[in-house]
């Protein structure tokens, strides 16, 4: 099984003209966390995924999906 979590974090963030640092402030995490989630290195918990979706004004399902 080689599943990976795809995301539209960067697309949506740049669309809203937010930096990683600003998004990190909104979700109360470090900028590195945002960076690693964006790059698919770190898989966020449900809690963080919900926070990110809320901060970016989209649904979790739109923001994240499972890639094969």
């Amino acid at each position: 099984m080689n599943e990976r979590l795809g995301n539209r974090l960067k697309d949506r963030r740049t669309e809203l003209d937010l930096t990683q640092g600003q998004l990190a402030e909104l979700c109360l995490v470090s900028r590195k966390t945002i960076n690693t989630v964006e790059n698919g290195i770190f898989v966020p918990s449900t809690l963080l995924a919900l926070k990110l979706a809320a901060a970016l004004g989209v649904t979790v399902e739109w923001l994240f999906w499972i890639e094969d």
Binding site: L28, V29, T33, F42, P44
Partner: protein, 152 residues
């Protein structure tokens, strides 16, 4: 511009603590080397031994403090949340796993080695604990390596 309240203006914030954590990891081998010269110095007296053990204890406790990410009570809720965010906890957990594996492997290696070599108790404990700490902090430093650029 964002000013910090006066009582906290000279205390480290989350970013400073993160930066220090990244830098401290690479100092570890140097600290251990320095400790060993005091603890295992051939002609060192009782005072040097006590000093060495106190230094070892202080360094070990400080490292565990960094590793476990205990709350820095003077920091704001925001800074505490950033320092102990879920990625930071994941990184500590991963590094700790490496440390435990090292402890098991080095311990097992010593168990085998004692059939051929007479092992000194103090040296064995020192090697066992510090090999585990070195691996843990090398892993921690690697996972916490330099902050990537904004869109890197």
């Amino acid at each position: 511009m964002n000013y910090r309240p006066r009582p906290n203006f000279d205390r480290p914030d989350a970013e400073t603590v993160q930066r220090t954590r990244r830098m401290l990891g690479w100092l570890l081998p140097l600290l251990l080397l320095q400790q060993s010269t005091i603890i295992f110095g051939r002609d060192s007296g009782l005072f040097d031994h006590v000093l060495g053990i106190a230094a070892w204890g202080a360094v070990t406790l400080s490292l565990l403090w960094w590793l476990l990410g205990l709350p820095f009570r003077w920091l704001s809720k925001r800074d505490q949340a950033i320092l102990n965010d879920e990625r930071s906890r994941f990184v500590s957990g991963d590094a700790s796993r490496w440390g435990i594996v090292t402890l098991a492997l080095v311990g097992f290696g010593m168990l085998i080695a004692q059939f051929w070599v007479r092992l000194d108790v103090g040296l064995t404990i020192y090697a066992l604990v510090n090999s585990s700490l070195i691996v843990t902090f090398a892993r921690l430093s690697w996972l916490n390596r330099a902050e990537p650029d904004e869109d890197e």
